[in-house]
């Protein structure tokens, strides 16, 4: 188990930044804050350059300049209107691009979501021939009743069914939480593997 420390500069950067971020587990400190700010600065610069070369430059140089697709000028003008929010007397104009996006989002959802969700509803029509299917059937009904807020939960039947629905929801949330915890540990394990095997060079 003799380590062979890496000479790769990129790996050293990764390792130092990882350790700097993990120092927060002890307590907030200047090393952590330096690493955090370096990350923010890098990410901001990265995404600015990425967006410039993937959206702005192709749109202006290729699509409008070379291909003569001038209708994109309208889209650019619409997009630029969002900056009017910085002019207090004309800030209302910024609502137009936002309205466009809300309209697009609504249209997209209405166009593409029903087909996907109808299959989900169909799949809930299960034959009651196994314990798993019975649990699914009961769970769907009870959870739906829980969300019928217009039904009086004081009614013992409705209240009882809704209570079962609440338990189903709590189990689902518990499952989601448990999975989230395991996921975070997986992230840590990946970092530990990088530090131990790639950076410090212990034999895996």
């Amino acid at each position: 188990m003799h380590p062979h420390i890496s000479t790769d500069l990129g790996l050293w950067c990764q390792a130092i930044c990882t350790l700097a971020i993990y120092t927060y587990l002890y307590k907030d400190n200047p090393i952590y804050r330096v690493a955090e700010n370096v990350f923010l600065g890098l990410a901001t610069a990265y995404w600015f350059v990425f967006n410039f070369f993937n959206f702005i430059k192709p749109a202006v140089v290729e699509w409008i300049g070379k291909n003569g697709q001038y209708h994109y000028v309208l889209a650019i003008i619409l997009g630029l209107l969002i900056f009017m929010r910085y002019v207090p007397s004309l800030s209302w104009i910024a609502r137009y691009p936002m309205s466009f996006w809300v309209g697009y989002g609504t249209g997209y959802t209405l166009a593409f979501t029903p087909a996907v969700w109808l299959d989900q509803i169909t799949a809930s029509f299960v034959a009651l021939n196994s314990l798993q299917n019975i649990l699914i059937f009961v769970g769907i009904l009870c959870t739906l009743v829980y969300f019928f807020f217009t039904l009086a939960k004081e009614n013992p039947v409705v209240g009882g069914i809704a209570e079962v629905g609440k338990w189903y929801i709590m189990i689902a949330l518990g499952s989601a939480f448990g999975n989230t915890v395991l996921y975070r540990w997986n992230l840590f394990l990946a970092r530990a593997n990088m530090l131990l095997f790639q950076w410090l060079g212990f034999a895996s």
Binding site: F112, V116, D119, T122, A172, N179, T180, W185, N186, L189
Partner: protein, 267 residues
């Protein structure tokens, strides 16, 4: 009694270090879901074209890169033609490049004929819509900025539709991700959608497996360990299971102790 949380971190770090250096070799049984996922890929027609989408970034690479590696091994052993590319996850393309390059060399895959890397394309669901109508037109250039028209594989796959693509293998960790592939590309078609999912969102995506909208799912690192065994290429997924088992035990113990402490104090 109040326990300093840093003590818990220390215990966890020690446990991780011990299990990483001294594996326990705990058995990992293979679930029905892993077999279903393996079979869904294995049973594709010979010479199929599969689109593999690494829709992730370094934050989730710990879980998803081993899945991608195992998927690539299975696809190349079956001699499928592979289109590797994503939309909306720029860094995923770079991560996937480092994984596919040595595996393609191992299987003597020819770039442009047997596999191609499209890189990452902006646009998310909108890009997928464009690719459905004109894949080379939507992608324009490959990972290395070369024009796509020169590659036989791109000439053979003009559209991202069921006539040309047999399956979409999506490594999913957020938006855009598998639901966008389902809505835009695979819903109502014969294209099989098979996903690799991070542990955190497995419960959300499981409903799509049960409804048959996903043909299979590699569920988190545990699912990856099972899938690696089926592919016959034990990797990082399988290796992580000892540590994950010990960590799960530790967390359970802490939760029980915490609750005992809470109830005792309440009385």
């Amino acid at each position: 009694m109040k326990i300093d949380r840093r003590l818990l971190y220390l215990v966890a770090v020690v446990l991780v270090a011990v299990t990483v250096f001294f594996p326990l070799g705990l058995p990992v049984s293979v679930s029905k879901l892993a077999v279903q996922t393996y079979d869904a890929i294995q049973d594709l027609p010979d010479n199929s074209v599969v689109f593999i989408a690494p829709m992730y970034d370094p934050g989730t690479a710990g879980e998803l890169s081993p899945m991608l590696k195992a998927m690539l091994y299975q696809c190349m052993e079956r001699k499928y033609r592979i289109i590797l590319g994503n939309t909306g996850w720029t860094l995923g393309a770079g991560l996937a490049h480092t994984i596919i390059t040595p595996i393609a060399q191992e299987f003597n895959y020819v770039y442009g004929t047997d596999y191609i890397e499209l890189g990452s394309k902006p646009g998310g669901a909108i890009w997928l819509q464009s690719a459905k109508a004109d894949l080379p037109g939507a992608a324009i250039v490959d990972y290395n900025n070369n024009s796509l028209g020169q590659y036989p594989l791109m000439q053979a796959v003009p559209r991202l539709t069921q006539e040309y693509v047999a399956a979409a293998l999506v490594l999913d960790c957020g938006t855009p991700g598998a639901p966008e592939w389902l809505a835009q590309i695979t819903q109502g078609t014969s294209i099989k959608l098979i996903i690799g999912e991070i542990q955190m969102t497995v419960p959300d995506q499981m409903t799509f497996v049960q409804s048959g909208q996903y043909a299979g799912m590699i569920a988190g690192s545990r699912g990856c360990a099972e899938y690696e065994q089926l592919v016959g290429r034990p990797g990082a997924g399988l290796k992580s299971q000892d540590t994950m088992s010990v960590i799960t035990l530790m967390i359970t113990l802490f939760i029980v102790l915490g609750n005992i402490g809470y109830l005792t104090r309440k009385k």
